[in-house]
Symmetry: C2
Subunit: 339 residues, 2 copies
């Protein structure tokens, strides 16, 4: 049995999802020859640390009851402190995304890789800002750096392209990478309604944020386009390199007209091999794999041998995202294959 000592940095919805998934999947991980022992968890208030392995059930309970996982004697201990001071192998970095500066996540990932720890993350910010620096650092220190959960939650697009599709040259990737926009466009057509009415509905249902601009203006999609460009095509792009149009000007009339010619309108993010990155509402034929409805995410990958391969899945949700994190962890340690 290979024992992997891990920290969970960030204990919001996704961090808690990871803890739950590790509890649910203990037996399955053991079957793969893995014992993931979480030796530290941090949230904004402080840390819980036990070098023999924390009791995850108790940690989740404490978080639910008191609002923090931190032990009284470790209030104020940060993720960075844990990464630098606690002996472990793997940092699960799931702090909130900050696409302006990379935020604490960037400092955490850098420190983890500098101290030769493997990193698995769902945090888009640092990868949108400093992808190349982080992946170079990982390579230099022979660390794994995996981030399936940053693009499309449970939709396994990155590992599909880099592992399953190995042997294929990837020519382009395009897809729906934001469930909120897909929901709004789907419902506008179904309800014969305008953009702002459906936006209100989406906010009421908790599908859109109270400030939805990050989603509806295409910024979130653009972050994912940047990560795919860097991770899959080996480019060195930031969000400034993406031409972005959101969905705020799409009308019901446009959706209706498209439908009459057998098409629908989706917010499509695209990476082309020539380096062109874009986010814009585009016509998609009904019946094409990209024409999925509701909050789903989808990615269509153009390859030289296999033609077009499409993968669809839930773009959000804490257990869904945790599932991608778990798959990354298994792929690192199952075979001791860090590439």
């Amino acid at each position: 049995m290979k024992i992997v000592k891990a920290s969970i940095i960030g204990f919001g919805s996704i961090g808690q999802g990871v803890a739950k998934a590790l509890l649910m999947k203990k037996a399955e991980l053991n079957k793969e020859g893995l014992d993931v022992s979480v030796v530290a968890i941090t949230d904004s208030k402080g840390a819980a640390v036990d070098e023999k392995g924390l009791d995850l059930k108790k940690c989740l309970q404490k978080k639910a009851e008191t609002g923090t996982v931190a032990s009284e004697d470790l209030l104020g201990m940060t993720g960075l402190d844990v990464i630098k001071k606690v002996d472990h192998d793997l940092v699960i970095e799931v702090t909130p995304t900050d696409i302006q500066t990379g935020g604490a996540g960037l400092l955490n990932m850098t420190a983890a890789l500098e101290t030769k720890k493997d990193v698995v993350t769902s945090n888009k910010g640092p990868l949108t800002m400093k992808f190349r620096e982080l992946s170079n650092l990982a390579e230099k220190n022979n660390c794994a750096f995996k981030f399936e959960a940053t693009v499309g939650g449970a939709m396994p697009v990155i590992n599909l392209m880099t592992e399953v599709m190995a042997g294929n040259e990837i020519k382009s990737v395009k897809g729906i990478f934001n469930g909120t926009c897909n929901y709004i466009l789907t419902r506008m057509y179904e309800e014969k309604s305008g953009y702002s009415e459906i936006l209100t509905e989406a906010v009421d249902l908790g599908i859109a944020e109270t400030d939805p601009s990050y989603d509806v203006e295409g910024i979130d999609t653009a972050c994912k386009v940047v990560i795919l460009a860097n991770a899959v095509f080996g480019m060195n792009k930031t969000i400034k390199d993406v031409e972005i149009t959101g969905i705020t000007n799409v009308t019901y009339e446009a959706l209706e007209m498209s439908a009459k010619s057998g098409k629908t309108i989706k917010l499509i993010g695209e990476v082309r091999k020539d380096g062109k990155l874009s986010v814009a509402p585009r016509l998609v034929p009904i019946g094409h794999p990209l024409s999925v409805s509701g909050t789903l995410n989808v990615a269509a990958v153009q390859t030289d041998l296999a033609g077009e391969i499409t993968v669809t899945g839930k773009g959000a949700g804490s257990l869904e995202t945790a599932s991608s994190i778990l798959s990354d962890i298994i792929s690192i340690y199952k075979c001791d294959c860090k590439t």
Copy 2:
């Protein structure tokens, strides 16, 4: 550089596709640390053997010009002879499918695994008949046994479920596993035509076989359902365990009525965890990831953590199928990870 000595058993459309793909991808394979050296190729007339590695370009040319790859002195040498007598590591078994007896493929795979060679295949027959026996033999002799290409050509459904989705429990798989049936149903609706008119069109275009019964009666889909049941769920099923209804009784009127309620009809193969296997025409909501048109294949996988993940791709084509074979080869030797 790891040198993998391989044989290609069967040199029809798929075998030639594998040879072409190996030629195209020599540099990429080298980058992964692999040098695949094809030391033998067989077709129905005989064999070509060179323990230092055949010139694949010349083999393809000879096949095109003379109808066989066999050397004059090796006419009559079979795949089984090559597997038993030629020293190599990997058997690429791509002979034609025989679902009645398993055909030569079953003998070839058994001999390969008995002589401790790894097997990669696109041949459904042996896996539909004797999956458990073959996979037990592979395990006993510590051989890799990979068969992504048997289900959905280029659509990477098996490796997606067993590798990328690791950590998830698979609850059910359903999908469109036969491009001919999907084409016929799609075109019937588009053309407002009956089944037999569109079948004639499909035969004319080479999309359906002259004897299309294997496809349209759901047998081919059932074979894939059996392989998925055995490979992904660890069941021990054969084609007799599948409840099968084909598409021959689907009418244009049924398609039209479905469309009025936002649905379409697709031939869906399904494996349920309780052991129920079925193939039947089913209603699928338009906009659902399973509602893809044309000759596409698609598989929707229900998981406990990630929810529903869907993958879509071309179900046939020689290079497309070869691409799945290549991905299997890379996954075996890249990391020396035979599980």
